[in-house]
């Protein structure tokens, strides 16, 4: 994670002026100088847990961006540091360490049941004995707040009348998948609400924007909310029950800059890999609403520490759902405001038609799935509602990281997660599973092949070097014609690599390391191997991935992977 040491020095300001960028460049250069004096790999590399929860953040104050500001600043101002640089929070294996932002879940021994459970603490929820404790003041989806018998607060939301199960299904699937990716999300459950058994707390209030005050929440208001929701044939309502996260709300995080009031937040968000790579997940799931205002920062007390935990939430506008209506045609295909297609449309009096206007959505798709398809879906062209600085900074190595996570979710996992949405129409389950699998295949084909996809490196005591090809493993690329290996002795103090022998080529994904390099290695010695690949369809694979091993007491430890686009 040398890049953190070098560049995060400049991460203290969230105001990105040209001057600040110049200063940052100078500081970055200074960081490089510092790095020369430091070892290339520290003894605790690779770091799998970035303790960004250590320092007290209880003095932080809420950041609550307005919808309109978020749109304006991202559409017209291009905030953040827009540079083609490596993500700054990756560890020396080019992976994202666990943090207050992210937790590695893909490589653990998780079962399909784990995936389906996601963030949920219990397997199911009944609303018996719950009390309506307040109105819902934000967001477009009809709903209110309820409190369970233990006093835990939840948000209740309904589906639109014309598309029962659509928004709730998207919320369930989106939450489970984002949890599987590694993000912090809140528990969400499906439940059945019986309107004849509602109890409203005496203290329940609702913010009335027309009266500009809070007032008592009455049954009449609840009935109005229910009228905006889809009612089941049995007279009850299928609702989404979202548990409020623990802690003190601190508003939203931004996809650029750092929080100036959080001592732990030192990496500009647009340079965080998990935020850059979120573009891959958003494209897969058509999460057009992936923007700062759909995030949540919570001041979390844990073990005597107060730190900010960063959540993603509100997946009601994913897949084919637009939350309160079927997803429109533009989202995912074009920003809300893009000049060129607009001017073309105007100049041609509407005879120019945007390509997405011609996407053919199946007429027989069940109402619960909304509007989503996989045939026209082009992952690299997918767009959120308006520019996202972290998404814009996504490089092929960031996308590769995310795509590998997607690749860990197989057909059985995806089907199980879709089944969690409990669509009453089996066709909806099948349709959504099929669409997700087809879109997944495109995501993997696009982003697992855009860089040299060699992974899973190991060097045995006998000197056998093995690796794998992630694109081939995922079935989105054929075998490489060959792999070219260049071995070097690596000086950890200076960062200098001294070649040992000439490059060798192998068709197999294994090869013997030069005996001169590994036979007499002592603890603390480092070796480097650069692995390039030849594939007639993927020129980018010729760029080598640089791999470092450190000799331990009784084995070779993988300590470095550098994948350059």
């Amino acid at each position: 994670m040398a890049s953190i040491s070098g560049l995060s020095l400049a991460a203290r300001s969230s105001r990105w002026s040209a001057g600040a960028i110049v200063v940052m460049a100078i500081l970055a250069a200074a960081g490089e100088l510092v790095r020369v004096a430091s070892p290339h790999f520290y003894a605790d590399d690779p770091l799998w847990a970035d303790d960004d929860m250590a320092l007290d953040a209880s003095g932080a104050t809420p950041i609550e961006d307005a919808n309109s500001y978020d749109f304006v600043v991202h559409t017209f101002a291009a905030p953040g540091d827009r540079r083609d640089v490596r993500a700054m929070n990756v560890n020396t294996l080019d992976e994202v360490p666990d943090s207050s932002w992210f937790q590695n879940r893909a490589d653990r021994d998780r079962t399909v049941a784990d995936l389906v459970r996601g963030p949920d603490r219990v397997s199911s929820i009944s609303l018996d004995g719950w009390v309506i404790s307040g109105g819902k003041s934000t967001g477009v989806q009809p709903g209110f707040r309820m409190t369970d018998p233990q006093g835990q607060l939840y948000q209740i939301e309904l589906d639109p009348p014309d598309n029962p199960e659509m928004a709730s299904g998207a919320e369930i699937i989106g939450t489970a998948l984002y949890h599987a990716f590694g993000y912090h999300v809140v528990d969400v459950y499906l439940a059945e609400l019986d309107p004849s058994h509602l109890v409203i707390s005496e203290q329940a209030t609702i913010w009335d924007p027309r009266e500009a005050r809070r007032r008592r929440l009455t049954r009449r208001e609840i009935d109005k909310v229910l009228r905006r929701g889809a009612r089941q044939p049995n007279g009850k309502y299928r609702v989404i029950v979202s548990r409020f996260a623990e802690g003190k709300p601190l508003g939203n995080f931004r996809y650029y800059g750092t929080r100036p009031d959080d001592p732990n937040d030192i990496v500009p968000h647009e340079h965080r890999r998990e935020l850059r790579g979120a573009r891959v997940f958003a494209a897969w799931l058509n999460h057009d609403d992936s923007r700062g205002i759909n995030s949540l920062d919570m001041l979390t007390a844990d073990g005597g520490r107060n730190y900010i935990k960063h959540y993603m939430f509100d997946f009601g506008s994913t897949l084919g759902s637009g939350t309160i209506y079927v997803q429109r045609h533009r989202p995912g295909n074009e920003y809300i405001l893009e000049w060129k297609p607009g001017w073309l449309t105007l100049a041609t009096l509407g005879f120019y038609t945007r390509p997405w206007l011609h996407i053919d959505y199946p007429d027989d798709a069940p109402p619960a799935v909304g509007r989503i398809e996989a045939t026209a879906f082009t992952p690299e062209q997918w767009k959120p509602e308006y520019p996202n600085p972290a998404f814009d900074n996504m490089r092929p190595d960031d996308a590769f990281w995310a795509a590998r996570i997607v690749s860990t979710l197989d057909a059985a996992s995806i089907r199980a997660i879709v089944e969690k949405a409990r669509y009453s129409d089996p066709r909806a389950t099948k349709y959504m599973t099929d669409i997700l699998m087809k879109r997944r295949e495109k995501v993997l084909r696009t982003w697992l092949t855009a860089v040299n996809p060699v992974v899973d490196f190991a060097l045995s005591n006998s000197g056998e070097f093995t690796f794998a090809n992630a694109a081939q493993q995922a079935g989105v690329a054929g075998p490489a014609q060959g792999y070219i290996l260049q071995w070097s002795r690596f000086d950890n103090a200076t960062g200098a690599a001294t070649k040992v022998g000439d490059p060798t080529e192998t068709v197999e994904m294994s090869s013997a390391a030069p005996a001169a390099l590994v036979a007499d290695a002592r603890a603390g010695d480092y070796v480097e191997v650069a692995v390039a690949a030849r594939h007639p369809e993927h020129a980018a694979w010729t760029t080598p991935v640089t791999v470092h091993f450190r000799r331990g007491a009784d084995r070779w430890d993988l300590v470095g992977v550098r994948r350059v686009p």
């Binding site: 994670m1 040491s5 847990a49 250590a54 304006v72 009266e211 405001l337 509407g350």
Partner: protein, 388 residues
């Protein structure tokens, strides 16, 4: 992960911790720039201010041609803690139009299926345009008149099933008409008399009875498909002179078609107004349907044509430029006639033009139309609200 003393800067964890400790010395609260503060204020305070209960600013228009109106009002949507709403307002314009209105709206059936509206209004419109009645009115005869009127009434609207609604009501009107106040345009009395402008000499009070049928299946409200059809019958009863009683029937049909994922919308509108006056009665000119202006024949001045019978045909092609902004090409044709049997497609006045519509799903916010091709010159309309 290798164990390493995180306090030491000779470890990765240590270097990161050192950086964080350095930042800790220079923490500052998040700052919002002026734009962020302004937009937040608008979003949280400004937009609700337009629709909020209590005192509010009355902005917009009083009637076609009044110009921009400003005033103040008071409203609540929870009168006596019920869903009933009251709305009281008064406003004026730079052209000395003014109006004041009180309205009580109350649901009288569950889920608002029947709503009762009771209202009273007083207005003074001092510069209403008049060019004569019938299809042959001349622009050279442009005059203005003043209409001062009080209206009180009650209406009931009931939703029958789906998009079908029916309703009816009764209201009492006390119009008073005189010369207009526009110094640049002759007053009506200089050019017209009671024969050429029936009802100019004296104005009785009226009792108007009305009934309507309404089918509205537009989707969304700023429609891209569906239709809106309304038929309304009114009987105006002269309460004083037994000279000006008449029946009026209006039929307004609007149909919306769309292609290309509803980003291209074709709108067709047909409006027919006809009236019946018993043999000894006359329809007063100020209660006749009119054509001309931003919402009918856009290539003509406001109220350019008046007559007891009117026909208006409009077509519009709207195409989305960006979300929230449509452009439009339009064509209007129509005429007024003195006899119902002349209400055909011959001799229609027409215009065409283009415009822009700033909109949401719930309606148009602002409309700019440029109209050409009429014998009345070019016209530019900037209007808050939609057309059809």
């Amino acid at each position: 992960m290798a164990a390493q003393d995180p306090q030491s800067e000779d470890s990765r964890a240590g270097t990161l911790k050192a950086e964080r400790e350095k930042k800790q010395q220079n923490l500052e609260p998040p700052k919002e720039n002026a734009l962020a503060r302004a937009l937040k204020a608008v979003e949280r305070g400004g937009v609700p201010l337009i629709t909020r209960d209590g005192l509010y600013a009355k902005l917009g228009s009083l009637t076609t041609g009044s110009g921009f109106a400003y005033g103040a009002g008071y409203r609540t949507h929870r009168f006596f803690e019920r869903d009933a709403g009251i709305d009281l307002w008064a406003g004026t314009t730079m052209t000395q139009y003014w109006a004041a209105q009180a309205r009580l709206q109350m649901p009288i059936a569950p889920e608002g299926r029947i709503v009762l509206n009771t209202y009273g209004r007083r207005h003074d419109y001092p510069m209403e345009d008049f060019f004569g009645i019938g299809p042959d009115s001349a622009r050279a005869d442009h005059t203005t008149f003043r209409v001062l009127a009080t209206t009180v009434g009650v209406r009931a609207n009931g939703r029958v099933v789906g998009p079908l609604a029916v309703g009816g009501g009764v209201e009492y009107l006390t119009p008073s008409v005189g010369d207009g106040k526009d110094e640049k345009v002759p007053p009506i009395g200089d050019v017209f008399d009671d024969e050429s402008a029936p009802g100019l000499a004296s104005q009785p009070d009226f009792v108007r009875s009305l009934a309507f049928v309404d089918v509205d299946w537009r989707e969304p409200r700023n429609a891209r498909r569906g239709g809106w059809y309304r038929a309304e019958w009114s009987h105006y009863e002269d309460r004083d002179q037994d000279l000006y009683s008449f029946d009026r029937f209006d039929l307004d049909l609007r149909q919306f078609f769309s292609v290309l994922s509803e980003r291209r919308v074709f709108v067709a509108r047909a409006f027919i107004s006809t009236s019946h006056t018993p043999g000894d009665q006359t329809m007063p000119f100020y209660l006749m349907p009119s054509l001309g202006g931003n919402d009918s024949l856009r290539g003509f001045r406001e109220y350019r044509f008046r007559g007891p019978h009117a026909l208006l045909l409009q077509g519009e092609y709207r195409f989305e430029i960006w979300s929230g902004l449509d452009a439009a090409l339009f064509y209007d044709a129509g005429k007024v006639e003195m006899r119902r049997q002349d209400l055909d497609l011959n001799g229609l006045e027409s215009d065409y033009g283009f415009g822009f519509r700033f909109n949401t799903d719930n309606g148009m916010i602002l409309r700019v139309d440029s109209a050409f091709g009429s014998r009345d010159g070019k016209h530019l309309w900037i209007v808050f609200g939609g057309t059809f």
